[in-house]
């Protein structure tokens, strides 16, 4: 019995090696795609916000914008689930360093940008979205937990949902313990029914147990996954770039999410 079935309508992706989902597809087909510019474009943000926004916001908005554009949906109509294992580590590093030395000098802007829901906040403001929005984390299971939360909203509410999952590289002493070595972000637009924009069908099953491991990956994908918790999404993204198949992701420390993907478009 498959408890959960949702349809993928859009896919976003950004890392220092991958400008978008088409680039991943090209890479898996054996070509060597050019690297994207060093800073995500985040074209959805108004220019003044784009200049001021922290890197974590640019990354999340970039992948969310790609996925929504591919789906053809109006961003304002989509409920939002934004996941990130660490939030903005550069801001956390700045805040902890400042608080240790000169706490009264803490920047008010960096403080309000430090909330875990900063990225989804900027996204909803930029897109005029009044739908429910949430920001979640679950360490290395952040993508899987976010996917479960997003699929739950799709099916329980029968509405399309935007899922984004992203982490920037770690900074300072915090970066040494978080061991997050390069940025990675991805996004999916998920819908309850098949439609003209449908790319793939996903069937989920929950599989309890701490011992089962994530689906193995070839290099360089395996190395990228090791360097960023949000890149735990790569087995599913690689499936989506192909014709179909099965992968397993962690949805919690002791819970696996087995996903069967079938290409529709």
């Amino acid at each position: 019995m498959s408890a959960l079935r949702v349809y993928v309508e859009g896919i976003g992706l950004w890392s220092p090696q991958l400008a978008d989902f088409a680039t991943l597809r090209a890479l898996l087909a054996g070509t060597t795609p050019p690297a994207p510019p060093p800073r995500p474009a985040a074209a959805v943000l108004p220019p003044n916000e784009r200049r001021r926004a922290p890197e974590s916001v640019l990354l999340a908005v970039e992948v969310a914008g790609q996925a929504v554009a591919m789906s053809g949906r109006d961003a304002a109509s989509l409920a939002c689930v934004f996941a990130s294992a660490h939030g903005d580590q550069a801001i956390t590093d700045y805040m902890c360093a400042t608080l240790a030395q000169a706490p009264a000098e803490l920047s008010p802007t960096r403080f309000h940008n430090s909330v875990h829901n900063a990225a989804v906040g900027y996204w909803t403001i930029a897109t005029g979205c009044h739908a429910p929005s949430t920001a979640i984390c679950a360490r290395r299971a952040s993508f899987g937990a976010g996917l479960l939360e997003a699929a739950g909203q799709v099916l329980a509410e029968q509405r399309p949902v935007l899922l984004a999952c992203s982490d920037i590289a770690g900074s300072g002493p915090l970066g040494e313990v978080s061991d997050c070595r390069q940025p990675f972000g991805c996004a999916l637009v998920l819908a309850p029914q098949a439609g003209a924009a449908t790319l793939a069908r996903l069937d989920f099953d929950l599989q309890p147990g701490a011992d089962a491991i994530d689906t193995p990956l070839p290099e360089p994908l395996a190395g990228w996954r090791g360097g960023n918790p949000s890149a735990a999404a790569l087995p599913l993204l690689a499936l989506l770039a192909g014709r179909g198949g099965r992968c397993r992701l962690a949805a919690a420390a002791t819970l696996g999410l087995v996903i069967d993907m079938e290409r529709v478009a």
Binding site: A3, A97, A138, G209, L255
Partner: protein, 397 residues
């Protein structure tokens, strides 16, 4: 929606540990705020600090999780027999069939702050702080999963001050889809320099005890709290109070200021009433977000005035506990549940000179009356809004 049973709940805040202490404080209008004595260079303000956190020891097997936030979580879990109720749910349904969904705004960032105050000469964290799990925002939920031995869906919601209200919505969806049979929801946030100096930098902290909805209010008092609830299907506990509905929305307006017309707050309220099948007039009590910031209280008082008849009573309890940020949702949900259970509308502590924008709905002093339906509002940075609707067992909308 199909209501859910709230089969157990508990709260620990500046007014005391456990529900009996909380009820006693509400009944006697005894606030828990004190002059700021937190940290080495305390700002001039008042705080809602929980007594006994420093003396709380985690079980030896959980020692790697030690930090102020997880100590407060453990202190909170040990009140009101909550651990036993979770143990019983785990035995009844299985560890993988109980979700654990917790809200927090800063988790154990206080531990990361401490590590930065005591960096090694080489610039890295000191050895005793080299515990990656407590420097991640999932620290609280991961600790609680270990402490409660739960193996089902587990995630942290971190949407600033709406965090531990939104976990009720996630839990309801998982129960409705049959992914789990029960859910532990809640939240914990602790005092730390990040929020004290951060809100101070935003000029949102009052130098005095906060005065929600007072004409002369001048900012928030920051507090800390832990709260938890166990949600199950109504058939499992027909006599337990119920989660009747919830609403969620986004302001799409500003990162740190509410929408001037309360647009998102009203969307969340209407969503909650619609899911619960309630008319506004059926709501007996609303525990307001009521932070004592200029803007929030102005916008929220106007919303109450236009959406409800004056028979609906309203108050903020942040004058008792301070603003407990990511824990405010669950803390104030437990106050709404106690209002139903004990027929007590808590007075709006600190509102001695009511702002004229407040209508006749406001309960400035305690009122004893039957409460069948109670709402709780929680609004966060980023324009993130949530509203919860609770009712007594047997109430039919």
């Amino acid at each position: 929606m199909t209501p859910l049973a709230v089969t157990a709940y508990t709260a620990t805040s500046a007014v005391g540990s456990g529900l009996a202490a909380q009820l006693d404080a509400l009944e006697r209008a005894r606030g828990g705020l004190r002059p700021n004595d937190f940290g080495s260079a305390p700002l001039t303000c008042w705080i809602g600090r929980v007594d006994g956190v420093e003396d709380t020891a985690l079980p030896a097997a959980l020692a790697a999780w030690d930090c102020r936030n997880n100590r407060l979580a453990w202190l909170g879990l040990n009140q009101d027999g909550f651990l036993d109720r979770v143990r019983a749910a785990r035995a009844r349904y299985g560890a993988a069939r109980v979700a654990l969904l917790l809200g927090t705004s800063t988790a154990s960032i206080g531990a990361t702050e401490e590590a930065y105050r005591r960096l090694d000469p080489d610039g890295g964290m000191p050895d005793d702080m080299l515990r990656p799990a407590i420097h991640a925002p999932h620290s609280l939920a991961a600790f609680a999963a270990a402490a409660l031995a739960l193996q089902g869906p587990c995630l942290t919601v971190s949407t600033a001050c709406s965090s531990s209200a939104k976990v009720f919505a996630s839990a309801e969806r998982m129960l409705r889809l049959g992914l789990v049979d029960a859910a532990v929801v809640g939240g914990v946030d602790t005092l730390c320099d990040s929020v004290l100096f951060g809100f101070n930098a935003l000029e949102l902290v009052s130098p005095e005890p906060c005065r929600p909805f007072d004409a002369a209010r001048n900012g928030i008092s920051i507090g800390e709290a832990a709260g938890f609830a166990l949600l199950e299907r109504v058939e499992a506990a027909p006599h337990a109070p119920r989660l009747l509905g919830y609403g969620e929305s986004s302001d799409a307006h500003h990162m740190s200021t509410p929408h001037p017309d309360g647009l998102g707050a009203e969307l969340a309220l209407r969503d909650a009433l619609a899911r619960a099948g309630l008319d506004a007039a059926q709501v007996d009590y609303i525990n307001l977000h009521g932070t004592a910031s200029q803007k929030n209280d102005e916008v929220e008082a106007a919303l109450v005035g236009r959406a409800f008849p004056a028979t609906t009573r309203a108050s903020s309890t942040k004058g008792f506990t301070g603003h407990t940020l990511g824990a405010a949702g669950i803390l104030e949900a437990t106050i709404a549940l106690q209002a139903i259970e004990h027929g007590l509308v808590p007075g709006n502590l600190g509102g001695d000179t009511p702002d004229p924008i407040c209508g006749a709905h406001f309960a400035w002093r305690n009122e004893q009356r039957r409460v069948n339906v109670a709402l709780s509002n929680s609004f966060g940075f980023g324009g993130n809004n949530a509203c919860l609707a609770f009712a007594r067992a047997g109430f039919a909308a």
